[in-house]
Amino acid sequence: MAILKNINFNKLKQGLSKTKDKLFTGITEAISTKAVFDEDILDELEEILITSDIGMDTAMKIIHNTRAELYYLNDRSKEAIISTLKNEMKTVLLNAIQNTDNSDSTDISTNKPYVILVVGVNGAGKTTTIGKLAYNYKKAGYSVLIGSADTFRAAANEQLDIWAKRADVEIVQKETGADPSSVVYETLNIAKSENTDIVLIDTAGRLHTKSNLMKELEKIKTVMGKVVPHAPNEVYLVVDGNSGQNVLVQAREFSKVTELTGLIVTKLDGTAKGGVVFQISAQQKIPIKYIGVGEKIEDLQDFDASKFIEALFD
């Protein structure tokens, strides 16, 4: 959804500046300390890519392609290396973007209520992200209803309630321990009767290894379909930008239960480099929709692969 496109791009640059400092000044250093391109530089680049959580396979692939391209170009200037590497990295990201069915505001008006299910492991940042999404959709002029299907974690209700107030949207909650599916059922019914544009469903954090919790997720999905046949319209997997290779397993395991339509990568305002983005694009082909760059309600950014890479290189 292109809802956040109106956001000033400078904000993304700011948010990513620390990431950029680490990742690409690193690359520039690696390059500028050597006048002539050699294998050592590519080794250093490999180190930089791997320490960004890009993962060994993807890093190797990018380096391999960069190396091949450089030999072909026969140009080993710093500029050539950077632009070649940039292109290779872009190729990896665009690979997944092309798979995106680019839903837009028409989808929201024709699929009422437009239901977004948010899932992820514990501590990834689901609830905070829901708060930010609600705020942005509301600001974009949509009516939003949040369903609090995390009936497990202590005070999850209270936390989401505060976010709902901040975003100035309605919320449906039940007591701790209630069946999450029943919350979903009630939320969608209310949304239908009130002609709500967008429904956001927050779920309890669950490790993908917990089969009973994954079954619960399946049930939530089934119940959704019963109330609103086209639901869920989106299923977002929220992943912690600090995470390493396990994210790939998460994406794979959650995909088994429900098709994932997008990823939201959080906590990219630290020094973690979010290389996980490349990894997922290369292997899972699930597009990255948004990135979280802070704890404030406006700290959610539309993910744009080209701009993302450009911002990294600026």
């Binding site: 620390k18 180190e47 791997i50 320490t51 960004s52 959580d53 993962g55 060994m56 492991v121 514990n122 501590g123 990834a124 940042g125 497990f152 974690r153 202590a154 005070a155 999850a156 209700n157 209270e158 936390q159 309630d161 505060i162 976010w163 701790t176 490790l207 993908h208 290894t209 917990k210 912690d240 600090n242 995470s243 390493g244 290779q245 396990n246 994210v247 397993v249 906590k267 305002d269 630290g270 020094t271 973690a272 480099k273 290389g275 996980v276 704890e295």
Partner: protein, 444 residues
């Protein structure tokens, strides 16, 4: 699976078999494989690099026993080194002997501080500490509600000042409150913070200076990636934490970040936390994380097996005894016990240097070992030392005593004599063909 890893190593080391020693050239494939394993497990790039150098140094020049797979050999070095690096043994929480014990929990957002604080509170309460939980996270919405709810579940008081946004004051007041109310342990749950957030890092420093904690625990998500070393280092530079807590270990992450943190800040990992139930907290076991990093699996038995196989001293003793005809039934029994520990008679036979390859096809019914063991155990010491004295009446007694038939006893003695005879021939003629017969040795 660790077995998979060993197999991969074996494959990479195929060309090493037959060569005398592990050398730089013949283990380079293995080291590449190891590098991949470590990086896939989220071990930091630099840490992985120095770790590999270290393992390589230890492996180089080691003799390759024909009986031991080079893969197992390397796996063993690897596993031991990993365990050693992660602390070797368990490390306990420090308790203040004179005053209240103050434990400060710090870490990034979403690492699991609040849940772990409650778990630790319950753990200490179960060990007769009088615990107070302090809600010093003034930023995350409903953080103190979460702690209060958890506190209620485990009947532990939670200190909070609802109207205050000052984490330092809250922490300070909570220690006072604990003293006044005769509580001896205070666990302060702080807000998750990024190590690059100067204001919040200053806040946690101030809390430290104000409450002077007995222990500062850095909570880290076991799913963390390469950047874990950077955040850990920044936190350590700021507050010098005393221990690391590894959370969410009930997932399938490999937890390599923990090794990296240990390597970079050299602080023991004290607890691991798995699951959301408040009693799922464990003292950290370095060996378990070692096997996790290398891939889950029953590492203990495999390593024991490897250890038994490369115990060269014992193998030499056995060889000496065999070749000097001093191998008696007592030794035989000892070996059987070892076999049982190892689970495979091939391993035992393989221990004899130079025999390994020929013994591979030995056809052994492992159940027979129990029988053999019981028979020998029914013998007197003298009978075991000098099997020659085993006449008909002695054999009958042994059969009765061990619950076997006299045929079983006879078979065992015949088997034993044949083995000794064969070893004698092996010694005198060096007749390599005999080894094949040895390989077809049957215990039934």
């Amino acid at each position: 699976m660790l077995e998979d890893l060993t197999l991969k190593f074996d494959k990479a080391l195929k060309k090493v078999t037959g060569q005398g020693r592990l050398t730089e050239q013949n283990i380079s494939d293995t080291m590449r494989e190891l590098r991949r394993v470590l990086l896939d497990a989220d071990v930091n790039y630099k840490v992985a690099k120095s770790f590999i150098d270290d393992v390589k140094e230890r492996a180089l020049g080691k003799e390759v026993l024909a009986s031991v797979s080079p893969g197992q050999h390397i796996t063993k070095i690897l596993y031991d080194r990993l365990t050693e690096l992660m602390g070797g043994s368990m490390s306990e929480l420090t308790i203040n002997p004179t005053g209240p014990t103050v434990i400060l929990m710090v870490g990034l957002q979403g690492s699991g501080k609040t849940t772990f604080s409650a778990k630790l509170a319950k753990y200490l309460k179960d060990r007769n500490r009088k615990v107070l939980l302090t809600a010093a996270d003034v930023y995350r919405p409903a953080a103190k509600d979460q702690l209060k709810t958890l506190g209620k579940q485990i009947s532990i008081p939670v200190f909070s000042i609802d109207e205050s946004k000052d984490a330092v004051t809250i922490s300070e007041e909570s220690v006072k409150y604990a003293k006044e109310n005769n509580l001896d342990t205070i666990i302060i749950d702080t807000a998750g913070r990024l190590h690059v957030d100067e204001d919040l890092m200053n806040e946690v420093k101030q809390i430290k200076e104000t409450v002077n904690p007995t222990e500062i625990l850095f909570v880290v998500d076991s799913m963390s990636g390469q950047d874990a070393v950077n955040s850990a280092k920044a936190f350590h530079d700021a507050v010098y934490f005393d221990g690391v807590v590894l959370t969410k270990l009930d997932g399938d992450s490999r937890g390599g970040a923990a090794l990296s943190i240990k390597a970079v800040v050299d602080v023991p990992i004290k607890f691991s936390s798995l699951g959301e139930k408040l009693d799922s907290i464990e003292i950290f076991h370095p060996d378990r994380l070692a096997s996790r990093i290398l891939g889950k699996g029953d590492v203990v038995s495999l390593v024991e097996k490897a250890q038994a196989q490369i115990d060269e001293k014992e193998a030499e003793d056995l060889e000496k005894k065999l070749l000097s005809n001093k191998f008696d039934l007592e030794d035989f029994l000892k070996q059987i016990k070892m076999i049982k520990k190892m689970g495979s008679i091939q391993s035992l036979l393989g221990m004899i240097p130079g025999l390994g390859a020929n013994i591979k096809n030995a056809d052994v019914d492992e159940k027979q070992l129990v029988k053999v063991e019981s028979i020998i155990q029914s013998m007197t010491k003298q009978e075991r030392k000098t099997p020659k004295i085993l006449n008909g009446s002695r054999r009958k007694r042994i059969a009765r005593g061990s619950g076997n038939t006299i045929q079983d006893v006879n078979r065992l003695i015949k088997q034993f004599n044949e083995m000794n005879k064969m070893m004698k021939m092996f010694k005198s003629n060096k007749n390599r063909k005999m080894l094949k017969n040895f390989g077809n040795l049957k215990f039934n």
